[in-house]
């Protein structure tokens, strides 16, 4: 159906330190997310999920392996084959575990900024920012600064920002951690909708068992290794995870 996968990683490996202090955070992580596919990445804390996500987000380069986004080889080992920041700006929406908003900008400006950096002019950027905030239920807080918003409101603004440029790839690290169950499910459904309607490839690191059914595919990660799983297997894996932590390293 599509010429290229939205996200394709090949034997990604990340090693921190060397010698006695060497830690392998990710080993031969291979994964493929097609355009229009919404994938969940689950696993216990310390499994390497966040390391994987930051590598795909061109934030933290892998030690070895390759990353292709929309068929374009962007990372070959630790070497970036494109300007990571520009590529991220144009093609990747990133939602961090904790809501990360620019402190001196209002909620609307935070969303608008992502588009302005991408060359969208002020008026359409403002209009879309308000639409997204409205869709995520925080329109009335558009002029509030991050410290004036609740954790959940901040997270929804961060999601709006990630979706602002209609990116081909969305990476979300525990995006619903600060949301209640209902709102969390709404957000997951939003990701699914974005994937299906915009043809974006989406990877969501999550521990939220209630929303696993919305994902098209589920990957499990343990000890730095990725395995393709199922919703049922994932639920079982999550139920067995006793630490209850965020799962992000």
């Amino acid at each position: 159906m599509f010429a290229h996968p939205a996200i394709e990683t090949t034997v990604l490996t990340k090693v921190y330190g060397s010698g006695h202090t060497e830690v392998v955070a990710m080993r031969d992580a291979t994964l493929c997310v097609e355009p229009g596919q919404c994938a969940a990445l689950i696993g216990p804390s310390g499994a390497g999920k966040s390391t994987f996500l930051t590598a795909v987000g061109l934030i933290n380069p892998p030690t070895a392996g390759q990353i292709r986004i929309a068929g374009q080889l962007v990372m070959d080992g630790p070497r970036a084959l494109t300007d990571p920041r520009r590529f991220r700006r144009q093609h990747i929406g990133y939602v961090t575990q904790k809501a990360n908003l620019v402190g001196f900008l209002t909620a609307r400006e935070n969303v608008e900024l992502a588009m302005r950096l991408n060359g969208v002019s002020a008026s359409p950027a403002r209009r879309r920012a308000l639409e997204l905030l409205d869709y995520l239920g925080v329109r009335e807080r558009a002029d509030g600064y991050p410290p004036e918003l609740s954790g959940g409101e901040q997270q929804r603004v961060a999601i709006a920002r990630a979706l602002a440029n209609r990116p081909g790839v969305v990476l979300a690290d525990e995006p619903t951690a600060a949301l209640d169950g209902h709102r969390g499910r709404q957000v997951m459904e939003l990701f699914q909708k974005v994937a299906h309607e915009q043809g974006a490839g989406i990877i969501v690191v999550t521990h939220d068992q209630r929303a696993l059914d919305v994902f098209d595919v589920i990957y499990e990660m343990e000890d730095g290794v990725i395995r393709r799983g199922s919703a049922r297997a994932a639920e079982a894996a999550l139920a067995g995870a006793s630490d209850g932590g965020s799962g992000s390293t």
Binding site: T54, R85, T96, G103, F104, L105, L113, L117, D173
Partner: protein, 404 residues
């Protein structure tokens, strides 16, 4: 979207206070420059205002402003007789300190050669020039003597008939203008007892020599007023100032006057140089040095402030990188804030200076050249000061934003 203005808007109080601090610092830098210029202005102002082409002073001295210079009053006639001299005037200058209303009153006394010079060239802001040979004075406003004020100096009382503005000597003392005769009276005023003792001593000395013993009339004259003794010289003046006739060869006049064994002659430029290089040079250099140091200190303080402001924003900067902001956006954020801080600080410095500098005891002269120069320096400092913050901002990694 201008991030710098958004950040300033969000942290307006802190930015305003910081800018006010920088503005105050820049006002001091501006003030030091103004005092530096004021010193030069005060040093050369009188020489320029008097309008004399030549200064004839006591031989081997540097003129009345640098040291004591004494020439006989008759010198004015000798100079006036030199071909090419249009006008020669007596010049008396000295500094006195008296007490008025329990406070010290220090003034630079300058004698005007009545009736040739009644002070018409003075920049009067109130009152009039001198109208009589005695008991009138023109005072500068810095002396805080109101028009009509009667001031007792020595044995006489002088009435303030005119006021000038900004006429001060190299030490910042206001000028008081009298006729030469009154200026000398103020200068050579001695208590009656001292005069009586001197007359008695003179009479005693004369009585010990043959001529005194044999000529009682001489002995009697010796105990009388000094003005009645022909062998005693009249009061001396500080210098003679001369104006060269239009078309006359001033080199020839200088050559003639230089041939006289009892005087030294300076052209106006040379007299100015003597004042600048001799009287105020050290103060001028010290002020200049202090100004440079203050500018450097301002730069360091601005750099530290901008660096601290950048440190406070490191997480935001990392986040900007995470969402793909290019370096120029981040650079612009810091640089624009630095320039805004510098520009507003400069504006505050200027406005504060306009209000405060007139209250300074010494003259502060703000020239357009100096203001433009300082504006350029502040712009340069702003850019340089932001480099430290920019360096820090460019080093921060986007994953810092993920650390919460």
């Amino acid at each position: 979207m201008n991030l710098a203005s958004r950040d300033i808007r969000h942290n307006l109080g802190r930015f305003a206070l910081t800018t006010l601090g920088i503005g105050t610092l820049l006002m001091i830098v501006m003030g030091m420059g103004g005092i530096y210029r004021g010193l030069i202005f005060e040093a050369t102002m009188l020489v320029d205002e008097v309008g004399a082409d030549l200064w004839i002073v006591q031989r081997a001295t540097r003129g009345p402003f640098a040291e004591i210079s004494r020439v006989p009053q008759t010198m004015v006639d000798r100079v006036a007789a030199v071909p090419g001299v249009e006008q020669a005037r007596q010049f008396v200058y000295h500094t006195v300190q008296r007490e008025r209303d329990g406070k010290p009153l220090r003034m630079a006394v300058l004698g005007l050669d009545w009736p040739v010079d009644k002070g018409a060239w003075l920049p009067l802001v109130a009152g009039r020039a001198l109208a009589q040979n005695h008991f009138e004075m023109i005072a500068d406003r810095v002396l805080k003597l109101p028009l009509g004020e009667r001031l007792r100096l020595g044995k006489e009382t002088y009435t303030v008939v005119g006021l000038t503005q900004g006429m001060t000597d190299t030490s910042g003392n206001g000028f008081a203008f009298f006729t030469v005769q009154d200026a000398q009276a103020v200068q050579f005023d001695r208590p009656g007892e001292a005069i009586r003792l001197e007359r008695a001593a003179r009479e005693a000395r004369t009585g010990t020599v043959d001529i005194g013993k044999t000529q009682p009339a001489l002995l009697e004259r010796a105990g009388g007023p000094a003005a009645g003794i022909p062998v005693l010289p009249p009061r001396e003046i500080s210098a003679v100032i001369a104006r060269v006739a239009p078309g006359a060869d001033d080199s020839a006049i200088v050559s003639t006057l230089s041939g006289w064994a009892d005087v030294t002659v300076y052209r106006r430029e040379a007299e100015n140089d003597l004042l600048l290089l001799g009287v105020v040079e050290k103060a001028r250099r010290q002020l200049g040095l202090f100004r440079v140091l203050l500018t450097i200190v301002s730069g360091i303080i601005m750099a530290l402030i901008l660096y601290t402001l950048t440190l406070d924003k490191l997480h935001d900067i990392a986040l900007l990188k995470l969402i793909g902001a290019p370096n120029r956006t981040i650079l612009g954020l810091i640089l624009q804030q630095a320039l805004a801080m510098g520009a507003l600080g400069y504006g505050i410095a200027y406005l504060l200076g306009l209000r405060l500098f007139p209250l300074f005891p010494r003259r502060v002269v703000l020239t357009s050249d100096d203001l433009v120069q300082l504006a350029v320096v502040v712009g340069g400092i702003s850019v340089l000061a932001s480099l430290l913050g920019i360096w820090k901002a460019l080093r921060v990694q986007p994953n810092v934003a993920l650390m919460g």
